[in-house]
């Protein structure tokens, strides 16, 4: 049975390894989130916003030309059609309602590609909350359009200038700011990482993805379960959402595509399950890329959203027990897969998502298999990276 235990662990991974200064915040969240989220009032507001603001349910689209290309029945779960362009908003909607119920006045968030930052800035504008987003200096450069979107939405974008100046450092900075503002501020973490209860809470807000997949597949295929679900994994929020209702259905293969960057052994990679070992990152025990001395290694991926040295504890657990199949996709292959999807289906995917498309080349499947790929985001934000790469 894959589920979080009461101490916040999935098997060996998870927990809440946090400075004492954050204990009251985490305790407040842990003690209240389940009852708030379970309440009728919360659910009504959440479901209404998912429908009318985000545009859910997102379509489950049968990709016929892609299916022909690969020789399987391939469906795309169109999270790219969510308002703001990616699945990230499912979680920010949930957390902003929660923050309001907890009486918080201010929101902080970290962002890598900027999708979570935009999704956070969006719901803050929607609710009239003050919003500050921490973003690595390097990511600010390579995701300019998203930075401007956040600013247009009224958020303050603060550069994280330490370390690799990417998602890991933005997360450190957001945690520090939470320590500095513990009373009136809620920290909206964007992935299934961080101290308990964040990984499970974020996964639950994202679980709407597989919840919809089930009834949509039932309609289209006469069965709720596909043979495979494929998703990309940085921290792993879209994968957690797409896998959630299939964790305990062993017939459904769960495929996670990590970023191999410039190659596993190039020293410029973010393939955590290949290169990582158990340790502690951002408040939870997980698998992370680190030196022998336990210093966190700077990752690399062409996609800012996968440029993270760890994975969520639930994914570490899926890997550990062999429930999840992890594949590592190199930058170049992901870019080519992005072009392939653009030309076969008329959908330019986010580069993160393109990693999941390429995974089809790395795994075995049968021609009658039903495969769902979680199309986590659209490629608008990545145009500059596509242009710079130029291979089209």
């Amino acid at each position: 049975m894959i589920r979080v235990d009461e101490k916040g662990f999935y098997g060996k991974f998870g927990g809440a390894y946090i400075p004492e200064m954050l204990h009251p915040n985490i305790e407040e969240l842990r003690d209240n989130y389940e009852s708030i989220v379970a309440s009728e009032e919360f659910q009504q507001e959440f479901q209404l916003l998912l429908r009318d603001f985000v545009g859910r349910p997102t379509p489950l689209y049968f990709a016929s030309r892609l299916s022909e290309t690969f020789g399987a029945k391939i469906y795309l779960k169109r999270e790219d059609l969510c308002h703001t362009g990616a699945h990230k908003v499912n979680n920010t909607i949930g957390q902003i309602i929660l923050a309001k119920k907890l009486g918080k006045k201010r929101i902080i968030a970290e962002t890598g590609a900027g999708q979570h930052g935009v999704a956070t800035a969006t719901v803050c504008a929607l609710m009239g909350m003050d919003c500050t987003v921490y973003m690595g200096e390097l990511d600010i450069e390579r995701q300019r359009p998203n930075v401007e979107r956040m600013k247009i939405l009224g958020a303050k974008v603060v550069p994280a200038t330490s370390g690799s100046k990417t998602l890991k450092d933005a997360t450190n900075e957001a945690m520090r700011q939470w320590i500095n503002n513990p009373v009136d501020t809620h920290y909206i973490i964007g992935s299934v990482v961080g101290p308990h209860p964040y990984p499970e809470m974020v996964a639950r807000f994202q679980s709407v993805i597989s919840e919809e997949m089930k009834w949509q597949l039932k309609e289209k295929e006469g069965r709720e379960n596909p043979d495979l679900v494929i998703a990309c994994v940085g921290g792993g929020s879209n994968a957690a959402g797409a896998f959630y209702h299939y964790y305990n259905t062993p017939d459904v293969r769960l495929i996670a595509a990590e970023a191999a960057g410039m190659g596993i052994s190039s020293g410029k990679s973010a393939a955590t399950t290949v290169l990582g070992t158990p340790g502690i990152l951002h408040g939870s025990k997980t698998i992370l890329m680190q030196t022998e001395d336990g210093q966190v290694v700077e990752p690399h991926s062409i996609s800012a959203g996968l440029d993270y040295p760890g994975i969520g504890p639930v994914h570490a657990h899926l890997f550990d027990i062999g429930r999840g199949e992890f594949v590592a996709v190199e930058d170049e292959d992901a870019m080519k897969a992005g072009i392939l999807l653009s030309r076969t289906e008329g959908i330019i995917p986010a580069i993160e998502t393109a990693h999941a498309i390429h995974a089809l080349n790395l795994i075995e499947y049968r021609s009658d298999d039903v495969i769902v790929i979680n199309l986590s985001g659209r490629g608008d934000k990545d145009l500059e990276t596509y242009i710079k790469w130029g291979g089209y």
Partner: protein, 258 residues
């Protein structure tokens, strides 16, 4: 007797603990800095083990951590440097380090090494109390290491009592809602918090840290506790120092003057 216990048995006020980052500003400065801290009249030395992701620390200590790592500091190098330091240093020495490098070294090996070289206590800011009790308490005790917990203005009375129950060295009172080095000066609000904890009559002595930088803040903090911890301000003092021993002595004298 553990040197921390001995210290607090004999000194109840104006205890000064100095934090510095091992291997900073230069790799080989560790012992030199420790000697200078002792010579300058401090009571406790807190050696920071540098980490790539110190989430409870502000820019000054982040910076010293990074420089120390770039200098080649690691847990192994540190224990090499610390071999034999007890020939020169007689005051209590505490290691402050984040959990991940310790776990990678191996918790038991780490505790064993600490005892071997003569460390008295540990501060692991991201080791939660429950995890400590469940997994590590017996190891710490076996190797004679005193564990220090942090509390902040947000920590509930109930939890402060639990922490007091589960430690027997000293309690590290974070002075404000802040990471290290974030604020200077002591506000009315902070004094209310200091008094509130003072009136709880805890069994453990209390040292106030974060935002302590000079004679004035040290004296104010000492009025409501057994003393204080200085970190960022000390790091700033040693950062560009051309004469470490002299500059450290002068700095400590300026803090300790009444």
């Amino acid at each position: 007797m553990n040197r921390i216990h001995y210290l607090f048995n004999n000194k109840k006020e104006r205890v000064l603990s100095i934090y510095f980052t091992a291997g900073f500003p230069h790799l080989e400065d560790t012992i030199l800095v420790m000697e200078a801290i002792q010579a300058g009249g401090a009571d406790i030395i807190e050696i920071g083990v540098p980490y790539s992701d110190p989430i409870a620390d502000g820019p000054t200590i982040q910076d010293s951590n990074k420089i120390a790592l770039d200098n080649g500091m690691s847990m192994k190098v540190l224990f090499e440097q610390l071999k034999g330091f007890r020939a020169k240093i007689h005051i209590p020495v505490v290691l402050m380090g984040y959990l991940n490098p310790i776990i990678q070294f191996g918790m038991e090996d780490f505790c064993k090494k600490c005892k071997e070289v003569g460390i008295d206590g540990l501060i692991v800011p991201d080791l939660p109390m429950q995890q400590y009790l469940d997994e590590f308490k017996s190891l710490f005790e076996e190797y004679g290491l005193v564990n220090t917990f942090l509390i902040s203005p947000q920590t509930s009375e109930k939890r402060i009592r639990e922490i007091d129950e589960n430690t027997d060295g000293f309690i590290y009172m974070v002075s404000s809602h802040a990471i290290t080095g974030a604020k200077s000066g002591i506000s009315e609000e902070q004094i209310i918090y200091f008094k509130r904890v003072q009136e709880m009559n805890l069994k453990n002595p209390r040292l106030i840290g974060f935002g302590i930088s000079d004679a004035e803040t040290f004296t104010t903090a000492s009025r409501y506790s057994h003393g204080a911890i200085i970190g960022s301000a000390f790091i700033k003092t040693v950062k560009d120092s051309k004469n470490l021993s002299e500059d450290i002595k002068n700095y400590l004298q300026s803090v300790l003057k009444n």
